[in-house]
């Protein structure tokens, strides 16, 4: 088989790309350790760590006791000794017991010690809804993490980014909360693990679709929704731009504002609650920076301000194409004529 054929892109899932990112990081750097509940023999409940324990041994990919604070707390100690732990939290809502360790130690240790004790820890959290999960399996917890200085908060929306961003997260000397849109775990793309595209450092948004009418600012599981909405909007005569943030912290003001200055209109789309969710921060930043370019207030399409619904009702909660298009329609188009 020729090299060209071997490197040919084949359909791969986001879960496979994430697994490959950990595998490559572990092969390159012996200080990288994967730990969490069921990550070893089982390969994780989403199979994202499939095969890592077999390839690298249980000391490198460890099934821990079922205790999220303990998992992250021991990861802090391992990082103190020079290891680079990659922690898996099984589900968004199961990560909450680890909040104290994350907020009181992981995020502050570098600052507390004037830089002498960095925390190169990656906390992988499957998040978001749309998989028919029962209570506690579908939360969008990003706003909690965003509100904690010292953390990076990153989330991929494509197979390629899943690999690249996770490699960047593991290589980062700062703690990264790596939010994996579980709805997209089985999304596929032509992607070659042998020639993964270079990814820019954490903190750069990307324009997924260029357009002139308005900007949809989104991330993670809502990116495909916005892409679909943008395609549907063409029929209405709207040419929508889609910005995939990729990183909520650091926030790429530059890319977002450049887009909004071009289009003059913006809608922020996410599953997280509207009140106190990321959209409020993003709308404020855009308004502060692009006020004189705006033709309409920045709108938000978000989850309702309710506890995450039971699975049979979740479709009413999740921002879908129609709700995005409704918001686009409300961007004061009349004023233009």
């Amino acid at each position: 088989m020729s090299t060209a054929t071997a490197r040919q892109a084949k359909p791969a899932t986001m879960a496979q790309a994430l697994q490959r990112a950990m595998r490559d990081a572990m092969a390159e750097d012996p200080t990288v350790h994967v730990m969490g509940e069921d990550v070893g023999t089982l390969g994780g409940v989403f199979r994202v760590t499939d095969g890592l324990a077999k390839e690298f041994g249980e000391d490198r990919c460890t099934d821990t006791p079922l205790a999220e604070a303990g998992i992250l707390g021991t990861a802090v100690g391992m990082a103190m000794y020079g290891l680079r732990p990659v922690v898996e939290m099984q589900f968004d809502a199961f990560a909450y017991p680890a909040f104290e360790q994350l907020i009181s130690h992981v995020s502050r240790m570098r600052n507390r010690t004037r830089g002498s004790m960095p925390m190169p820890i990656t906390v992988r959290v499957p998040y978001g809804g749309g998989i028919g999960g029962v209570e506690h399996h579908s939360d969008s917890s990003e706003a909690y993490y965003m509100a904690t200085p010292g953390l990076h908060v990153v989330t991929p929306a494509t197979v390629e980014d899943a690999y690249g961003l996770l490699r960047e997260a593991i290589a980062s000397d700062d703690p990264v909360v790596f939010l994996e849109p579980k709805r997209l775990y089985w999304s596929k793309a032509d992607w070659s693990p042998d020639a993964p595209a270079a990814v820019e450092p954490i903190g750069r948004a990307v324009v997924r679709r260029e357009g002139r009418s308005a900007t949809l600012i989104t991330y993670g599981p809502s990116v495909p929704v916005c892409m679909e909405a943008a395609a549907a909007a063409e029929a209405e005569g709207w040419d929508l731009e889609v910005v995939d943030l990729r990183s909520l912290v650091p926030f790429d003001d530059e890319t977002v504002c450049a887009s909004v200055r071009r289009t003059g209109r913006a809608v922020v789309v996410h599953e997280s609650t509207s009140f106190g969710g990321p959209g409020g921060e993003i709308a404020a930043r855009v308004t502060e920076r692009c006020f004189h370019h705006l033709e309409a207030p920045v709108l938000r399409v978000a989850g309702f301000d309710i506890p995450y619904p039971p699975p049979m009702l979740e479709r009413h909660h999740l921002p879908g194409v129609d709700r995005v298009l409704d918001a686009v329609a409300r961007l004061q188009w009349e004023a233009e004529s």
Partner: protein
């Protein structure tokens, strides 16, 4: 040998095989249906002694190394003076707050001296004395409580983790560090300190559980000083003793007289040695008493009587040691005086250092949040810089105005 016989076999078993750190005797345990079901280990060897282990004033003292006893004595005297000086500094406004370890000096000193240089100490906010006894500059140890920064020292210099304020949260750190050292093949031990109140926290439970499952080389020292601020132990736990909690995790529990510095040093030394040779973690409960209030801001008369405090003063760690040493002719008036003088020198130096105003740079606030500043932090740092420049500009103008 006693309770440690089994652990030694474990060590030999570990050495004989080419097992990974994760694998260990009993790891392949699978439950079988009753009546064939059996517990994984015999709990009896893990049980603490019925009474706190003591050395001073007992026959065991004869076996103690006189040189070690004199060193421990000097450290106790120095420690007591350090506590008094730090408390005095709060009254002079030089420390924001000081949680004193007066009465608990034996635990603090023994914890520091039981460790080798390559080992790690994980102190709580009440354990600055342990850090100082391990060699940390007292002024650096007190930075957190002075308030000019959070951690005033490089943790890697003396291998002392930052003082932990959220209770028991430092315990899983100690487990993780010890586990990492073991993975690397280093014979490093971590000693983590916590109070009786801290044993109610979830992190205490999780840390002990992880340590035992991983057989991490950790020693947990619980200083049971009777109170969590105002709440007595009886409202904290219904356990027979805190040391008994060890049994539930599958590690040995030891009970020791926390005011008997020789006993604490011996028990911790055994636990450290056991951890170092691969025998796993130990939980040590030291029975002691917080002579001072929780901090200078607390009023202990609201929750305890003088007679209780007096009873503990009779069992003071320095007095116990002095009685032992003078009784054996190891300490005379000159010895007492020279220990007191050394402590006084330390206190004078500390006073002088702490009376100087710390040099503060507000721009440091943005310096170490991330390895590289985000653009948002750069903007905010610029804002503060401008405010500071404006302030100093006003100051200069004011001075000019005065000159005119």
């Amino acid at each position: 040998m006693g309770p440690y016989a089994r652990s030694h076999e474990e060590v030999l078993a570990l050495k004989k095989s080419s097992m990974t750190v994760q694998e260990r005797p009993g790891a392949a345990y699978r439950p079988t249906p009753p009546p064939a079901w059996k517990p994984r280990t015999d709990p009896a060897p893990l049980l603490p002694d019925p009474e706190p282990y003591r050395v001073l004033g007992t026959d065991a003292a004869a076996g103690a190394d006189p040189e070690l006893l004199l060193r421990l004595y000097a450290e106790l005297v120095r420690g007591r003076r350090y506590n008094a000086q730090a408390t005095a500094l709060t009254k002079q406004g030089r420390l924001a707050v000081y949680p004193s370890s007066t009465g608990q000096e034996a635990c603090e000193v023994a914890a520091a001296l039981a460790l080798e240089e390559r080992d790690w100490l994980f102190p709580s906010y009440r354990d600055t004395l342990a850090a100082v006894a391990r060699g940390l500059d007292p002024a650096q140890a007190l930075t957190l409580l002075r308030g000019d920064w959070h951690t005033g020292y490089d943790p890697y210099e003396h291998r002392i983790a930052p003082l932990s304020t959220p209770l028991a949260t430092q315990l899983p750190h100690a487990v993780g560090l010890a586990h990492a050292a073991r993975l690397k093949g280093d014979d490093v031990v971590a000693l983590a300190m916590v109070g009786d109140g801290g044993t109610s926290e979830g992190d205490f439970h999780e840390a002990l559980n992880f340590a035992a499952v991983w057989q991490a080389p950790v020693v947990f020292l619980v200083q049971n000083n009777g109170f969590a601020i105002s709440v007595p132990l009886s409202k904290q736990t219904a356990a027979p003793s805190l040391a008994h909690k060890a049994v539930g995790y599958g590690m040995p529990g030891r009970l020791v007289d926390g005011n008997d510095v020789a006993a604490v040093h011996e028990v911790l030394g055994e636990a450290v040695a056991r951890a170092r040779r691969g025998g796993g973690p130990t939980l040590v409960e030291a029975i002691t008493y917080r002579i001072d209030a929780h901090t200078n801001a607390d009023d202990a008369t609201r929750y305890r009587g003088d007679s209780e405090v007096e009873a503990w003063r009779e069992h003071d760690p320095i007095r116990l040691m002095e009685t032992e040493l003078t009784g054996r002719g190891l300490l005379d008036e000159d010895g007492v005086r020279s220990a007191a003088e050394a402590a006084e020198t330390m206190a004078a130096q500390l006073r002088e250092r702490m009376n100087a105003d710390p040099v503060l740079n507000p721009m440091d606030l943005f310096e170490h949040v991330y390895a590289e500043q985000t653009s948002q932090l750069r903007e905010q740092a610029a804002q503060l810089r401008a405010e500071l420049d404006a302030e100093s500009g006003e100051g200069a103008q004011g001075a000019e105005g005065d000159a005119r």
